[in-house]
């Protein structure tokens, strides 16, 4: 649910990073937090367990400059990835405007990636939103593991598993070093703002 403040000329959008446990959602936010200038970002808020796993959500507010005279403010959220936290993920999805689905390339996590996307679809439906109607970008993370002996999924396999119906854009990434992190962020921001603008600004202002 975007918030459009006509008096301050601001648009606030909520983007949620979704995906199975340990896929690198929080790592994406941490890298963005580290790389962005302090004046363009707010404080990063994290609610995690002692083992560094997200318990409720992470939040990183960003100021992304002006579009058509409106200041664009994006709040990035992550969800806890573990299967048992489905109810928590549903709460964080409330009012979402854009989604990044982060997939894990490990062969042993193949089913988790597919289940995670189904879980996202199901949780969105509980908010009366169709996954196909939302701005969505896929991120195939941890691509550096492909150069190691660990069995990993190829891009073709990931595309087949996750993107054969959605047919949305994907980025390869290594969130720990920042590869693909800002490309993903830029694309989802563009899509989300365009989605909100098409719904309101172009028709109502």
């Amino acid at each position: 649910m975007a918030l459009i403040d006509l008096s301050k000329k601001e648009v606030h959008c909520k983007v949620v990073y979704y995906g199975p446990g340990r896929c690198g959602k929080t790592t994406n936010l941490l890298y963005i937090h580290k790389a962005m200038d302090e004046k363009d970002r707010g404080k990063m808020l994290t609610i995690d367990t002692k083992g560094d796993r997200t318990l409720f959500f992470d939040l990183l507010p960003l100021n992304l400059g002006k579009i058509s005279g409106f200041d664009i403010r994006i709040q990035l959220y992550t969800v806890p990835g573990q299967v048992m936290y489905e109810a928590t993920r549903r709460l964080v999805l409330k009012g979402v405007d854009g989604l990044v689905y982060v997939a894990d390339p490990l062969m042993v996590r193949r089913d988790r990636n597919i289940e995670g996307l189904e879980d996202l679809r199901r949780n969105l439906e509980k908010h009366n939103i169709k996954l196909e109607d939302m701005p969505l970008v896929l991120q195939y993370n941890k691509r550096d593991l492909c150069d190691t002996p660990i069995p990993t999924l190829t891009i073709e396999q990931l595309e087949q598993d996750l993107n054969s119906q959605l047919k949305t854009v994907y980025y390869e990434a290594v969130a720990t070093t920042g590869v693909g992190v800002f490309e993903t962020l830029t694309e989802i921001t563009k899509r989300t703002v365009r989605h909100v603008a098409e719904k309101h600004l172009l028709t109502k202002i």
Binding site: I4, L59, H200
Partner: protein
Amino acid sequence: MADIIITAQSQEKAGNLIVNSLIKAGVRTALLIDSAGNVLANCGHEQQQIDIDAISLAALAAASLAATSQIAKLIGEDDFSLLFHKGKNGNIHFGRVGEELILITIFGDDVSLGLIRCRVAELSDGLAQIFEG
């Protein structure tokens, strides 16, 4: 959940309602947020206002009330309409306003909880009317 559009007029109306009812009664800070964690209005006494990270507070409050609502369902209630935390120097009260909004009130021991509850209940319809129509 529909998007919310704030105009200068709606912001002024909401601000006036909150200031006249809560801030003039001694409340330090009042934040009106939506259930996705966006800040719609932020009012307070300049001298008394503590340095608050409104964005984090709004996100946590929305999450906390959403979690509370799930707890309510577990014990067979539809929802709990308010949440209150008492601190050493300050207290915080969260009240639902209409379907999608939450009014957060931060106040000291010089203001009674009963007064806050009455004022928030009185304000609720007016504020919901402004933003939810």
